[in-house]
């Protein structure tokens, strides 16, 4: 008898356990938000708060309820979050921001709703955007899959006050003059500041290294040459430019030894801002921070296009964030209304004035109020005309990973430049062989 009670108990406990598991597993389903669309965006807390404000404005204007899905600041984490929900065909998020480097992957995976037809029946004119950006980044297989919210490109920052002190008239156009000036100023400044370096750029093993490398090689007329399923990385121009990057650190010593280990955007930005460098390669976001209250270099910074070699052109790698609609969204029309709102003149102007974002619309760059507050927008517009995209391939990340690894090897001296480039080319070929679509 006693045994029987024990058994009953077990069954009761098991039943309770099962019930709790079911309850915890399914109670999530009942909490379906009463929102029309979900917008996924990441960034610093201040940026997210500003998005929340914009959303409130959009909601009162249209009556469409938007749920803000707050993503982390880190680009890779933002991407992982989106890839996970898109791969499992979830209806949320409906609309989101994407880094320009993922566009091809997302488009080729058929995750993005083409926006051409929506554009035609809307007030938004695609002519207002940087045409080069639209053609090079947002178009995939002849259809527009995204629109630029924020256009980015590598620029050169320089110290105006040091230029005056050393009687340098203008920012250098050629790398040759650039190196001479950097060496001269570095030698003098070292006497008072032992941490001073001529030039800071992003050389750590990450995506930023590829952006920098494309600018150096581009300014020599090189880059990644793609012809069908053939790729060329180990070229004369690339080898010259990569050697120059190595020389900046090891021969001229105008870039610090930790360039290839630690230098990412923020390390470069803070070091320059502390007054430890003459030149800095960075994205335009650094401008507002350099000019902020309490910045030691406030009012002493100039902005220019990156230098070039005698037989090349100044090159700036295209970066930035684009807005797109999920193929699996259950309210695409409402999502597009939100896209339209984000890309409207007023919102783009607000994003520029509040967050310092460089709009994807060209007309904001000539707005009097914007220019008064952000005078560097005038130079940015010219820089953005030299924009050069990273290869628009769905498997770009894997290609970039190979390039990062070998350029990093070359910069650390583990491999010679020639070896690094030829091995990178070899591996890049394998990547294309594996992931490139067979041409019919």
């Amino acid at each position: 008898m006693a045994y029987l009670i024990g058994k009953e108990r077990i069954v009761t406990y098991l039943f309770i356990l099962l019930l709790t598991v079911c309850l915890t597993a399914f109670c999530g389903c009942n909490k379906e938000p009463a929102k029309d669309i979900t917008f996924a965006v990441g960034g610093a807390p201040a940026e997210l708060d500003f998005w929340q404000e914009l959303i409130a404005e959009f909601e009162t204007k249209t009556g469409i309820k938007v749920d803000l899905l707050r993503q982390p600041t880190d680009t890779d984490l933002r991407r992982r979050g989106l890839v996970t929900s898109l791969r499992s065909k979830k209806t949320n998020p409906d609309v989101f921001l994407m880094d320009v480097a993922w566009l091809a992957q997302f488009a080729a995976s058929n995750w993005l709703e083409p926006v051409d037809s929506y554009l035609q029946s809307s007030q938004l004119d695609s002519e207002v955007f940087f045409q080069k950006v639209l053609n090079l980044a947002d178009e995939y297989d002849g259809r527009l899959v995204a629109l630029p919210v924020y256009v980015d490109g590598g620029v050169l920052y320089y110290r105006k006050d040091l230029f005056e002190g050393f009687n340098i008239k203008e920012p250098p156009e050629l790398w040759l003059d650039f190196v001479k000036q950097a060496i001269m100023v570095q030698e003098e400044s070292r006497k008072t500041n032992p941490d001073f370096y001529g030039f800071l750029w992003q050389g750590a093993q990450y995506e930023g290294l590829v952006c920098n490398w494309l600018e150096f090689t581009g300014s020599r007329g090189g880059g990644i040459v793609l012809e069908g399923r053939d790729i060329k990385i180990n070229t004369e121009e690339n080898s010259y430019a990569t050697q120059f990057m190595y020389d900046l650190i090891h021969r001229f010593k105008i870039s610090p030894p930790n360039t290839y280990t630690e230098m990412r955007e923020e390390e470069v930005r803070t070091s320059f801002q502390q007054g430890n460098a003459l030149f800095e390669r960075n994205w335009p976001y650094a401008w507002a921070l350099h000019q902020a209250q309490g910045s030691p270099v406030k009012g002493k910074v100039g902005i220019a296009a990156l230098p070039r070699f005698a037989d090349g052109e100044s090159t700036s790698t295209l970066g930035g964030w684009h807005i797109g609609i999920s193929k699996y969204s259950d309210s695409k029309q409402k999502s597009f209304e939100f896209v339209e709102f984000v890309l409207s003149y007023d919102t783009q102007k607000k994003l520029a004035l509040t967050l310092g974002w460089n709009p994807g619309r060209t007309d904001v760059y000539t707005d009097a109020e914007v220019i008064e507050k952000l005078p560097h927008f005038v130079s940015l517009k010219t820089v953005f005309e030299n924009l050069r995209p990273r290869p628009n391939l769905p498997y770009y990340t894997l290609l970039s990973e190979v390039i990062q690894r070998y350029i990093s090897s070359a910069l650390s001296g583990k491999l010679s430049v020639k070896e690094a480039l030829s091995e990178a080319e070899e591996e890049a070929k394998k990547v294309i062989e594996k992931y490139g679509r067979k041409q019919d």
Binding site: K7, V402, R405, S412
Partner: protein
């Protein structure tokens, strides 16, 4: 009373139908959990690894082609080599240091409670945060390591700690050892406390010196515990990710890319089949190592 007890002792040899049934009921929840949260993902990952599962290409069954590519992939071989080297260096260091800390914590020293709490701190800090702290220590321009070295005159110029293969390797190992030694210490401490004092006293009566007591009495008795610690640390070491992600990003030149970091890169770029294959290899390596440890562990306990 006596009779009843005797009756009970006789019973266990013979399992009745009822006993088996209730035993099954007891195990059922555990089996369900293992099935749901361990077997299903493992089998799912394995099945995935047999496919060309790239988000932007057609999904198709390619059997072992992912594995074939894996073993001719220099990037994967480098990651495998690094991960093996990493556990070969870091795990023994952690075990030796952990045992020393455990002995100290077990000894009758003043402020023992405080000492125990202090030793545990690194283990309590989230890995990403401790890795960030180490990043600040190694930092070239304002790191603590360079500050101390240049102040003491050991080096005249700051050292780029993460700049060479050996430097980056050492930096990752140091950060991991710092973080996980307390874990070993706690496990070994538990083992030390289970040693009956009489045995130690007996050894003292037999005039064994401290070293003899340690190697002939303590070590054999805590061997099973050390093997458990070894098992945990080896498997954890094989999967090392956070320290590397924060500290070196796999650089310089891919020298410090671990297997999980390598798999992560493929998952991120949309090749789930290949990423799964990398994960399966990692699983097989970890599983075989655990089997070896468990075998060795059982053998040892059998001897005691």
């Amino acid at each position: 009373m006596k009779n009843m007890a005797e009756n009970r002792i006789e019973e266990p040899g013979m399992l009745t139908h009822r006993d088996i049934k209730s035993a099954c009921l007891f195990i059922l929840p555990l089996i369900t959990l293992i099935f749901l949260f361990i077997l299903v993902p493992v089998i799912g990952t394995f099945i995935n690894s047999l496919f060309q599962d790239v988000s932007f290409l057609d999904k198709k069954f390619i059997f072992l082609k992912n594995y074939q590519q894996l073993f001719s992939d220099p990037g994967f071989r480098q990651a495998l080599k690094f991960t093996m080297l990493f556990i070969l260096v870091s795990v023994p260091l952690e075990i030796v240091l952990g045992t020393i800390f455990a002995l100290l914590m077990n000894a009758d020293v003043p402020l023992r409670g405080l000492l125990r709490a202090c030793v545990l701190i690194p283990w309590a800090i989230p890995a990403a945060i401790s890795a960030r702290t180490w990043e600040l220590i190694y930092n070239y321009s304002y790191g603590l390591a360079n500050f101390i070295f240049t102040r003491l005159g050991i080096t005249s110029e700051p050292v780029n700690w993460l700049g060479t293969s050996i430097g980056a390797f050492g930096a990752v190992v140091a950060a991991d050892v710092w973080k996980t030694t307390p874990f070993v210490a706690i496990i070994v401490l538990a083992g030390l406390q289970s040693i009956p004092e009489e045995i130690i006293n007996q050894a003292k009566v037999d005039r064994a010196n401290l070293l003899q007591i340690f190697f002939k009495v303590t070590v054999p008795l805590i061997k099973p515990v050390i093997i458990v610690a070894l098992l945990f640390r080896t498997i954890d070491g094989l999967r090392v990710f956070d320290v590397i992600y924060v500290l070196t990003g796999g650089g310089p030149g891919g020298e410090t890319t671990s297997i999980s970091h390598y798999a992560y890169k493929y998952f991120l770029s949309g090749d789930f089949g290949y990423g799964s294959a990398v994960s399966v290899v990692l699983f097989v390596v970890a599983f075989s190592l655990s089997v070896i440890y468990v075998k060795v562990g059982r053998f040892e306990t059998g001897q005691i």
